[in-house]
Symmetry: C2
């Protein structure tokens, strides 16, 4: 949770004062904890307010409904993931380096924020469109970024590449979360196995074509 | 839903008669429809029984709790996915062919069964261990199969490969589901973009090393 509120989320009204922001963030943190301990559907607005020591009326200043605080949590993960990705690739000069750094950064994020799967994938059950928008917008911006580095790539079908690469990062992140991987284990997996495949392929070259 | 009941699911007691099986499958079909229309947590056993025109007592012959019918749905998807994969690779003679057929089969399955994401990923919210077991057991059997074809592969780290390939198939399936892709579109995506990358890599070879 960072101090700069996300604008333009349907049903979410970020306050202008820092006291208000602190209250809003406290509500969101408590909501995430309760939603992931049990589920979105078993937690009420009044449960959230009780656990956050906040009046129910205050909740409705920031969030129109319980679904809107969930929408905020998804948007906040999206923003934190994008920020963590863009920080990790800041010094990179090639797409190859950006993919390496991006995959590692996402796996680390998953290990450090295991609730991300619960919140993002769980959005399918809360409001399917939220889930669809999350991944379609992620795929769009990934595909745009890949197009920018198109001369490094072997394919121009950047939308398929975007889904392929999101899938790789998401499932390596899942493994990282299951196994609570260390940074060293993540580096070994990505540097030792995944990047060589993205560089040279998964399969042995056909006989007679080896370099 | 097929007629052969899955054995050994905790809290699930498949009947021995075909009349019983029909009733059990009807309950499961209705439960899936209701769970995906709203959510697991907003649907009661009595809602399921009412919609299936079945007495509540009958439900409890087959399923000990509402969570157990969800567990059955996840296990049934796992079985159907594995069956569809093994049918699709039946005539294949190399790992390359098996991966091509397997990815296509999974994307088609996702287009034809869009609820699979809701049920499988939604299991994170219903009972996290169910979700963890689903993917860890899938990864284990995938890694074993890859090891069998190890001489075709450029890496021996079959567990990382399993997660990478599960991620690719899952996210291409997600795209297939979002865009309601036709078989022809799926073939173009997999044959035109994904398999060449798994064969030769995502990135242009370094200068001086091109074939």
């Amino acid at each position: 949770m960072i101090n700069n509120p996300i604008q333009n989320i349907k049903g979410v009204h970020p306050p202008k004062t820092s006291v208000g922001l602190t209250k809003m963030h406290a509500l969101a943190e408590v909501a995430e904890r309760l939603f992931t301990q049990t589920s979105f559907f078993e937690v009420s607005v009044s449960d959230i307010c009780k656990a956050a020591h906040t009046a129910v009326g205050t909740f409705y200043i920031y969030f129109e409904t319980k679904t809107d605080i969930y929408r905020y949590l998804v948007a906040d993960y999206q923003r934190r993931i994008k920020r963590s990705l863009s920080q990790s690739i800041a010094g990179c000069t090639t797409r190859h380096e950006r993919e390496r750094a991006g995959i590692k950064s996402f796996v680390r994020f998953s290990v450090n924020n295991p609730n991300v799967y619960h919140i993002v994938w769980g959005s399918l059950a809360v409001e399917k469109q939220l889930f669809v928008d999350y991944y379609m917008s992620f795929a769009d911006s990934y595909a745009r970024a890949l197009r920018t580095d198109g001369e490094e790539l072997t394919s121009e079908d950047v939308m398929s590449l975007a889904y392929m690469l999101m899938g790789i990062a998401s499932f390596l992140g899942l493994r990282g979360m299951f196994e609570n991987m260390t940074d060293e284990q993540i580096d070994t997996m990505v540097d030792g196995t995944i990047m060589p495949i993205l560089q040279n392929g998964l399969f042995q070259p056909p006989a007679g074509l080896s370099l």
